[in-house]
Symmetry: C2
DNA sequence: CGGGATCCGAGACGATACTG
DNA sequence: CAGTATCGTCTCGGATCCCG
């Protein structure tokens, strides 16, 4: 529909880390969205039904829960099992691959809990003094 | 500018994990954006100037680099040191708190590299068969 | 060299209504 | 109960211009 823009090829690779950067950003696009980690975390304790997930995460809309679960299922991180009963019942569970994600995520969660106070303190400090008076020498703010 | 909507307070806490959820999501909002981890990763090897960061990350615009650095500086994860020379020279470095973030992030990066192949395989499988014919019993797809 | 200001498109997200 | 469809909003992020 549109002419192919033909991305300009990477010119150089000053740090030699470009390949892994792409992979890492790819994963963070998946995991770093607003809800994925919370869903994975909830499923870490065991399989859950759709409604239980929705109740457990509190604040998520059924739309986002559906989209998040689809994405995770697509990436092979969760499985979807649907029982053709009435009323319908669908259970979600982590795959083995999904379980391996649980560890790094929990590490990050631990860091978040440990650092939350420090970060909020820093934010308060930053927000209250955006006043660097002109002086001589290197300016630290 | 707008009238305060006065968020309705949380009604219940079915899993007892709501508090940490907020903290984790808060951190992921900071770290899970498109560039923060890459900036932190680049600075992990040592302090860098603005232009070096821009060159090293490749693909980032100076706008996003500036915004990302401001955010990280605000949260106390990086320091900004500006030398009043001509031409101006600004160096960014990780704070001790920023260094503590490096570890969990690298774990996640390792997971990303290890799981990338599996994820892409799963994606391909999911994209090629969205065709569950109606059958009896629990349906796995 | 470093970075602020502005414009703009694309996608993420939420609320609601409807279906099987 | 477990979704899908549609809509409106809002933020993210890139391009560009300008300033110290």
């Amino acid at each position: 529909m549109s002419p192919p823009p033909a991305k300009p090829p990477r010119s150089k690779n000053p740090h030699g880390a470009t390949e892994s950067c792409l992979a890492v950003r790819d994963i963070l696009t998946r995991v770093g969205d607003k809800w994925s980690v919370l869903v994975v975390g909830s499923l870490g304790e065991g399989p859950l039904r759709f409604s239980d997930l929705k109740r457990g995460i509190e604040g998520i809309s059924q739309r986002m829960l559906t989209l998040t679960l689809r994405g995770l299922e697509r990436d092979g991180l969760v499985t979807r099992t649907q029982y053709p009963t009435v009323p319908p019942r669908v259970e979600y569970a982590l795959t083995p691959l999904g379980h391996t994600l649980l560890d790094p995520v929990q590490e990050l969660a631990r860091w978040a809990l440990e650092s939350r106070a420090a970060i909020q303190t820093a934010r308060g400090r930053y927000d209250t003094k955006p006043k660097p008076p002109p002086a001589s020498g290197p300016t630290r703010r």
